[in-house]
Assembly symmetry: D2
Homo-oligomer: 381 residues x 4
């Protein structure tokens, strides 16, 4: 594979919100991290030629394409980064894998479990590096939580308690965007933000054995975007589920776009036999940490400002107490992806992890429909 | 009924933790509130004569009894207050009602739904005033939340999210106290602390239509209190459930005694179409309040210090910003109970409310066993 | 001295806000603490016979007097508790000492340094027990801070940073109450609430060597209480000063009644060479604690819920996480005072401590006038 | 002036911590903001050829220079950005102004007031655009505070209360770096971090009329960096001062590098007659806002997440609740500087503002020495 003069050529499909975040990460990563191979931002791809050309210029891509099939065939593209809506992931990813490219895919991996299974299998066959962009794994505070869990400093994990809360569609006059249409988005709050907390649970606590879920759509009709009337909302506004982890912990999960005042509250708490941690993305530089074996008179949750040189990723940026923002989680993701490409090892979360996340989302939806506990599919990947 | 020279004679059965809290409330209520009829602390009752006599002295009771049957028959007792473990509630309460007394009963009303139904029915028949001591309803901040809901200032309620978390039995060497034995406590975290958040949900959001629950016991064997070996823990260490409210809201509930670092975190959040509130008992003088119609540039959760003269109950105490403590919730409960006795109206939560709470706990346990959604019994009271 | 049948007879002069808080403490102390000698609430004293009689009844005093000279002479009064405005302290206290009584005096000890010096000297001569009611010393979290300082767990103290902020007189139509008149109140925010943080600084950090201060009156004219016009505000609305402690630490102090939204924010922070603590009275059950020698990856301020059985005073009340309120600080004060009377040792803060506090307030006012650094008088007591 | 093909050519002197932050801003600004003229990163300058060349490559500069005199003369440099230690500012800035360049200078503008006065005068004479990089003015939350003040929504300002606290030099074995040497750094905590809160006070409250200050050096000897022994610390470890603003408000300021556990706590609070705001850089995306005219039952400080599209600068970045980090304040600074260069107007804080800040720092040092109140010089600029 041509390495772009030692660099990894990147082709990105899509260029809106996530495209901006990924582009920023490619531009920034070598400025702050020592990566095995630097990326070259070879081409961005979109269907609208003019808009795509403008995006290439604005976001820093060397060229643009209007057909993803052309993009994935380009010799100067080693890595295909897919940031389009979920319903298009499968065909683009399969084409990229077929062309022998490494692939980074936005979450959720797919809109259905079948698609996710097919994509994970294809990625396994392809032998190239694959990764799903669950960027919140790479917030330094989340990495610190992982360290504490892995080192046994929280003891045996008993509880996972997560809620990802937003409020951006509460107004009934908010239009019927693609995210509110099942055929395009797969699901609503569940797949969009619930997917993040499922992935974090997998990362921090481990596999989920079974779930009992419910979903709800509070506003069932919304204006069409083109102003021609109203249409049915076909995804969930909110979802919640109980879970049992294979390791014995129990969990609660909730995702909602109707939590007034919660702009982007991706929060979780883990309780173990020796300690606890709590995280909230709106204060993403902090991790609340409790140790049961602290001296009795000074036990309490510590607010750890996860910006010390020794904290994960933090040392590459600024001095202690100088906080990072949302976009940095993507830079860290790209950093590890580039290193993975160099060494030939897919960094977690891989497509297989993406499939497992999808299997939980699928189980929640089946449980909501059947009103029974459901085990996520574990389908021979 | 003899009114103790215009005062309401009280007989209390039990004198440990809850007995101390109730006794304090009887002593304090007239010092801070203008009550219709003052209480007279006529007698406290317990099985151990010496200990009961000492309790009477320490807690301020005029006399003591060693048989609740005697207590409920005393002419100078108008109100029987039952603060014993749950498995004894039924017989004491029924005797008190039978003797024509008003009754205050500690929560949960009973250890089983059958008992609760019988007690609620008997209370209805008796015609005296009855009340269950879900004291947290009467934290000023909770009352403020109720006001905001009732006045429509939060709009249509969509979400209830509650977790009552403690950690006092995490140590596996903690002994097998009565609270960990099903025959005495009915259930574990579910009935002890979960009952509180069910009652708060009823108070603030309304009736629960159905639930899907799970329970877990992390430490299954514990040392006997008498040191003769170990015994089986027969109640839940933790419980969680999903709920649908009759009004259309959805809810999540969790109760655990294994949340390391959470000493007494009775927390809930309500999200409505116009605003939200959030509460945490460990900061019980505060209510977080969000209004969606605040000016766009200054929207955010307000930390309301619920100690203003105009706030519920607060004006009776100290100037703004001078906080109240745990025990004050009992004083407020007794204040409203005494006023209810004067007017002949049972203040909420009544035994019927206690039954409805029990019906939800019962549904959660049945759901945990059957692994299906279960509707709480609504049995013709 | 007649001991009231083994009990300590108390006579209290004054019965408004502080009178309510002290009365509550006498009623409650033996209910929760094991005191050497229980108090007997012998008599309350006020000038208005009717109002005083009603106060006696409402607050639980056995009798009342209308002349403090009579009260201090009563044989059944062992302890005189002075809760009147500051300008009356001197004469009442001196009379009580002269009558051989123990004396508890509300803060500030006096309105002028001269008075304070005279009172401290008289108390020393009298040989009875004396104490100034700086009640916040006895918040459990403040006591924990003291323990950490004394045990060296914060290392050498470098910084004290305190602000006592209120906002109750911000409205210019708020009337010219006695607290806003120099001849009655001595000073404004400085003496009323600034005195508390000076006392806490003395308690936690040690003697103050010199200060540089300023005072300000934002609203200079206010309506008279009788509605007959307006009058001049003759005290400070706010005061701030820098300080050097004898031990080498430096400090900042601020007291204001014009801090919009801060109802009763009595807050301080101490930074030492090994750690720090931070306190805010509005969350008085919590102490923020930082240790510099925590493992590097989990350093941070801990929120210690100071309600554990082993925490100062807390074990006498409720289980962990069940918080205390404002009034409990008075109960703790009375507990220690009663024990002090039994043993014949004046518990801190003594009148001498009250004098030293007054000397700092005096130095601040002199500094504000002279615009120079001023050392507090240290006048041979 | 050659505009680099319509772009503004930038030459930066210095390339360490601040150099990294500024370089990032030049790279990022056009990616997120619509600027009048884009920057071209023409050259970076440092004395060590190899290190400077590596910095140019790492930070994205087109070329490098080893003599600032050469840099300021280059035709392709329109803007000279000075990020070297304070003792070098004067000569570089004067050379750049003399060469007719626009100048951005890191704070504090100079190490002495004389230098600052000379530089501000020269900038006035030069007629080019000048700016001091007090980047925290351009945190969105600080801008929101400014809006609230300017629109009168906080009313008349009475209090400013600021503390900038760090702890990075607490260890006595931390070496005698240039920041701890008076001849290089001018002062210690005062000039380094105290300068920021002085500038913020000027920005938000207005000119300071007089100050009373103190400084302290806790660790007076430290190891030399070259290991050859120890040397004297000749700057302050901490400084604090009282201030009166010309507008009638009073203020307290504190800067310390010895506040254990406070990594970068740049915090202030403003109290006005109608409301208050509070800010802490460690949670820089939040502003606490209180309005005295909120309904009485729901008054309280709101935590405004300053990430809404309508908030200052925030709309250029990510959706609500997706937070920004430290480095973004520099991007905002450069955005406004570039726009200022296009229109020919120096954006605040100008060199004159930098001089006024320096005058306050100077007054604090003179006050600390003379132990008197001192008015900042206001020297005819």
């Amino acid at each position: 594979m041509q390495q772009n003069n030692g660099r990894i050529g990147v082709g990105m499909v899509g260029y809106s919100f996530m495209g901006r975040a990924h582009s920023n990460a490619y531009r920034q990563v070598t400025r702050f991290f020592d990566v095995a191979s630097a990326p070259r931002m070879a081409a961005v791809c979109g269907r609208d030629e003019g808009a795509t050309a403008r995006a290439a210029d604005a976001l820093g891509w060397d060229s643009h394409e209007t057909d993803y099939r052309r993009l994935v065939e380009r010799d100067d593209v080693d890595l295909v980064d897919v940031v389009t809506p979920g319903y298009t992931h499968r065909e683009i990813v399969l084409a990229a894998l077929d062309a022998g490219k490494h692939v980074l895919c936005e979450k959720p991996l797919a809109n259905t479990l079948e698609e996710a299974r097919e994509m994970a299998a294809a990625a396994g066959d392809a032998g190239t590096v694959n990764m799903v962009c669950f960027n919140y794994r790479r917030a330094p505070a989340v990495q610190l939580a992982k360290t504490l869990v892995d080192e046994g400093r929280l003891g045996e994990i008993r509880h996972w308690r997560a809620a990802y809360l937003q409020d951006f569609i509460m107004d009934p006059s908010f239009p019927l965007i693609w995210r509110l249409q099942r055929e395009k988005a797969g699901s609503g709050a569940l797949g969009d933000i619930g997917a993040h907390i499922v992935d974090l649970a997998h990362f921090l606590v481990g596999p989920i054995a079974e779930v009992s879920g419910m979903t709800e759509t509070f506003v069932k009709e919304r204006p069409l975007e083109d102003g021609t009337g109203t249409g049915e909302v076909t995804v969930d506004d909110a979802a919640a589920f109980l879970a049992r982890f294979e390791g014995g912990a129990i969990g609660t999960f909730e995702a909602s776009r109707f939590a007034a005042g919660r702009r982007n509250r991706n929060s979780f708490e883990i309780n173990g036999s020796r300690g606890s941690v709590a995280f909230d993305l709106e204060r993403m530089n902090e991790l609340e940490v409790y140790f049961a074996d602290d001296p009795e008179d000074v036990q309490g949750f510590r607010t750890v400002n996860v910006t010390e040189p020794g904290h994960p990723y933090a040392g590459a940026w600024w001095p202690p107490g100088h906080i990072l923002g949302y976009e940095h989680t993507f830079v860290h993701t790209i950093k590890d992806l580039l290193d993975g490409i160099k060494t030939g090892r897919s960094p977690a979360p891989t497509f297989e992890d993406g499939y497992r996340c999808q299997a939980v989302l699928d189980a929640v939806e089946r449980s909501a429909a059947s009103r029974e506990w459901v085990a996520p599919e574990n389908g021979g990947i």
